[in-house]
Amino acid sequence: MKRQSIPRVAAKLLIPYILLYALYVQWHGDYGPGGGFQAGVIFAAGVILHAIVFDLRASQRALSPRIVQLLIPLGLLLYIGVGVVTMLKGGTFLNYSVLQHDPVHGQHLGILLVELGVGTTVAGVMISIFYAFGETVRS
């Protein structure tokens, strides 16, 4: 699809908004529908659109496969890390109320971090799988 100008122009217009929307869904999950899982998938969809319309190589130059693969365990570790921190602060595993002095603020912070972990892992998995498929198809 490299030489077709209409998909290229449309994708160029859309991709920034798709990525921005993913971030909005990520950080706004407390207030509206959505959360880490949906945000990760939408972010991955933006990158996949880029890889389909332009070139897999171009996407991989912009977002290196190594970094994307690093995101997979990083998200899960962030999630578990929040749990460990709550244990160190004297609460039970994943009891966010002890994170800050005000239990409600602690809950907000905990949910935000945990959702970020979910989003990171999901985006990493989806993009990595697509990269891996693309590499296999190419060869």
Binding site: V25, G29, D30, Y31, G32, P33, G34, G35, F37, Q38, V41, I42, A44, A45, I48, Q69, I72, P73, G75, L76, Y79, I80, G83, F93, L94, Y96, S97, P103, V104, Q107, H108, G110, I111, V114, E115, G117, V118, T121, V122, G124, V125, M126, S128, I129, F130, A132, F133, G134, E135, T136, V137, S139
Partner: protein, 171 residues
């Protein structure tokens, strides 16, 4: 329903994948009609979006035509009919949709609804339940995604990684 029958009838896997995406999108519309934007959102992005793309990429690795079946479809049809009948029989005992006296609405749900505005104070109750009250479950889900992703990457990536290293040596 008609979409599901259409998927079963199609022999071209490419069009079957597209129709499966349409089916997911219809499911998402149905969920938003039932006032469940979180579920609808997930269904639209995962079911209609990512999984359709992944199925299409898989097809580009294999063939896009289904093989002619080697045996008659009679036995599978009987199995499916019996299983379907058992499932429909099971739904007879289920409470009616939106019944406030249903079992699920009397167990922990009232506590979540009453207490979460003070305890968690997050406007989206779904997020409060998912990330705070049911934090262990969500951790498990994330671990499942992690494991599944790593599994697929190992399956696809064995030979590829060696080529990467060779490419970088050339550069």
């Amino acid at each position: 329903m008609a979409t599901a029958v259409r998927i079963a009838r199609l022999r071209g896997l490419f069009s079957a994948a597209i129709v499966a995406g349409i089916y997911s999108l219809l499911g998402a519309c149905w969920m938003s009609v039932l006032d469940q934007p979180d579920v609808a959102f997930t269904e639209a992005s995962v079911g209609a979006g990512i999984s359709t793309v992944l199925i299409l990429v898989t097809l580009s690795l294999t063939t896009s035509e289904e093989k002619e079946p080697e045996h008659t479809p009679l036995l599978p049809l009987i199995v499916i009919l019996i299983t379907g009948a058992a499932l429909v029989y099971g739904t007879i005992d289920m409470p009616r949709l939106g019944d406030p006296d249903a079992q699920v609405h009397r167990h922990v749900a009232p506590r979540y609804i009453d207490e979460s505005p003070h305890e968690v104070a997050v406007p989206n109750l779904v997020t409060a339940v998912l990330a705070s009250y049911r934090g262990y479950d969500t951790l498990g889900e994330t671990a499942v995604i992690f494991t599944a992703g790593i599994g697929v990457l190992i399956l696809l990536g064995g030979a590829r990684r060696r080529r990467w290293v060779a490419d970088e040596d050339d550069e």
